[in-house]
């Protein structure tokens, strides 16, 4: 089964917006949810997902499968994901290129992998196992990171492209995460973007981030001149990330694009306004795809 998300703007459906979305049925092309929040066998969350799935294409976005862990794949978690997918028939299913557990203990965060052959083999094996159980391709998302590991043998974009090739999975390209990691590690975001196999990109994520300012948060023994970016999903998408998104659309053509907002969640109208901005750019990309460039480069 392939990705059936429309190449339009969508929004992440979070708990504070359940009532509004069910009542107002906002005009947005699709919705994304965190898969785990709908694993419960009953209750309100189940009623909500069943109701929205009747109305919108749904993208199931997992945060807990821990595909990059050296532990065996958590089959119970995967079975819950499959049960949810079988019930609602999502347009797409995605997970992260990260790990979050070791020795059966979970940190419940999207933690970075070392870009090594061992980590690559491991994560490709887990993705293949998950895809076999789910009976469809997963989209795998690049995460933000604040640290890099010594002795890495490839760049993040080489690692991601190779994962897609070896595991035969699709890519969920998080443009904000590219920007955050490029800033934190000093690489060129465009180099990352240009190395991604365009035909594999099934969805794009946009979100807001914040600066962790050293003069405010550094504690004893930490560097006091190290400002870096944290992937908080707590704010509007910044201008630099919109600019990178435009570059991504130029290179990839129009792709389903999601506005993520997970902390300090604003009114639904604010979220929809962000999605409308992405939709304008997507409309232009659709026109360009069917008619050629609207404006010739000088």
């Amino acid at each position: 089964m392939t990705n059936r998300l429309p190449a339009q703007a969508g929004i992440g459906l979070r708990t504070p917006h359940f009532t509004d979305v069910l009542a107002l049925r906002p005009n947005v092309a699709w919705l994304e949810v965190h898969s785990e929040n709908f694993f419960a066998p009953g209750g309100d969350s189940r009623r909500v997902i069943d109701a929205v799935a009747e109305r919108y294409p749904i993208s199931l976005h997992g945060v807990g499968l821990s595909l990059g862990s050296s532990d065996a794949l958590n089959q119970a978690h995967l079975a819950k994901l499959k049960a949810l997918a079988d019930r609602i028939g999502p347009a797409a299913i995605s997970e992260h290129l990260c790990w979050s557990s070791i020795g059966g203990r979970y940190l419940n965060d999207l933690l970075p992998l070392p870009y090594s052959e061992e980590a690559l083999t491991n994560v490709c094996d887990k993705i293949s196992q998950a895809q076999d159980v789910l009976g469809r391709r997963l989209m795998i998302e690049n995460v933000s990171s604040y640290i890099r590991f010594a002795g890495e043998t490839m760049t993040e974009w080489e690692f991601l492209a190779e994962v897609a090739r070896r595991a035969d999975c699709d890519i969920l390209l998080d443009v904000n995460n590219i920007y955050v990691s490029a800033s934190n590690h000093g690489f060129a975001a465009l180099e990352f973007l240009n190395a991604i196999p365009a035909e594999r990109v099934g969805e794009i994520h946009l979100a807001g981030h914040e600066t962790d300012a050293a003069d405010e948060t550094a504690e004893v023994g930490e560097s006091s001149d190290d400002d870096f970016l944290i992937d908080t999903h707590s704010r509007p998408v910044c201008d630099a990330v919109w600019a990178l998104y435009i570059k991504a659309l130029e290179r990839l053509g129009p792709r389903p694009t999601l506005i993520e907002w997970d902390t300090d969640i604003p009114a639904l109208s604010v979220l929809l306004a962000e999605a409308a901005k992405a939709q304008v750019l997507l409309d232009a990309a659709h026109l360009q795809a069917s008619h050629g460039p609207l404006v010739r480069a000088a």
Partner: protein, 265 residues
């Protein structure tokens, strides 16, 4: 087997660094595997640590809003920090985290002055579990029509699985009630009253009822598959004025009792 792998070693060190102090040995050991200078490594790892502990703490606060309300967010965060290190998350679904928190709170020395807190936490976990419980088939009492009234004493009832009975030496239902976000009444609670609580979603919305001692015995006996006659006798032994008829009707009417039969358990 991957047990001796570099990846496994790295992830184990990372886990230890998250669960120990930012300036501790575990961070220094992980630092050997990171690029950059140690002060910068510590700062970046501290960001991960804040995230990890913050996410787990937020999950606990979501499941235990009344406990949070009673002790205040600062006290709760400190308790959560100790709990997270001692009781790691074992699921990739944060909604699963915190089942053992009531037991932890019972033995958490700084909360010793609030002896009711663990029981309140038990009630909150029960509430969370009930709210996510699977739907059940509609109630069916049609078989009662075929049973002669003189055999009613032999009836055994199926109790809705979506309910929880809790006994506490404290008024936990009352504490729960006055700490709900939409509650605007008197906050005074009589802490001298023990409560026998029945929480359930058999009516649809969550209900938290306080039972009298005879009604609690009656319910527990029916739940344990004793016959109606046996359950009524157990309740009458506690309170000879107990009138089980209206109670039984209420429980059947509300869907708490789902079916009846003459079959032996």
């Amino acid at each position: 087997m991957a047990r001796s792998s570099a990846l496994r070693e790295l992830q184990s060190r990372f886990y230890a660094a998250m669960m120990s102090g930012a300036d501790g040995q575990a961070c220094a050991e992980l630092g050997e595997s990171l690029t950059g200078e140690p002060p910068r490594q510590r700062r970046r790892l501290a960001a991960y640590r804040r995230n990890v502990l913050g996410n787990l703490c937020a999950a606990l606060m979501t499941s235990y809003p009344v406990v949070t309300c009673v002790v205040g967010p600062a006290f709760f965060r400190e308790a959560a920090r100790h709990y997270i290190v001692a009781h790691p998350s074992e699921s990739g679904d944060l909604n699963d985290y915190g089942a053992t928190f009531p037991g932890f709170i019972a033995d958490y020395p700084p909360a010793a002055e609030l002896p009711y807190l663990a029981d309140v936490a038990h009630l909150e976990w029960a509430v969370q579990t009930l709210r996510n419980a699977a739907d059940v088939a509609p109630v069916n009492f049609t078989q009662l029509a075929n049973i002669a009234p003189e055999r009613y004493g032999d009836l055994r009832f199926a109790v809705d699985s979506r309910c929880v009975r809790l006994d506490s030496a404290w008024p936990i239902a009352e504490i729960w009630r006055v700490n709900q976000p939409d509650y605007t009444g008197d906050m005074a609670v009589d802490f001298s009253s023990a409560e026998r609580v029945l929480a359930g979603i058999h009516r649809g919305p969550l209900s938290i009822d306080v039972l009298g001692i005879a009604a609690a015995v009656f319910f527990d006996a029916l739940s344990a598959q004793l016959s109606l006659a046996e359950a009524a006798q157990a309740a009458l032994n506690k309170d000879e004025s107990f009138n089980f008829g209206p109670v039984l009707q209420t429980w059947i009417g509300s869907g708490l009792l789902r079916s009846a039969s003459l079959a032996e358990p």
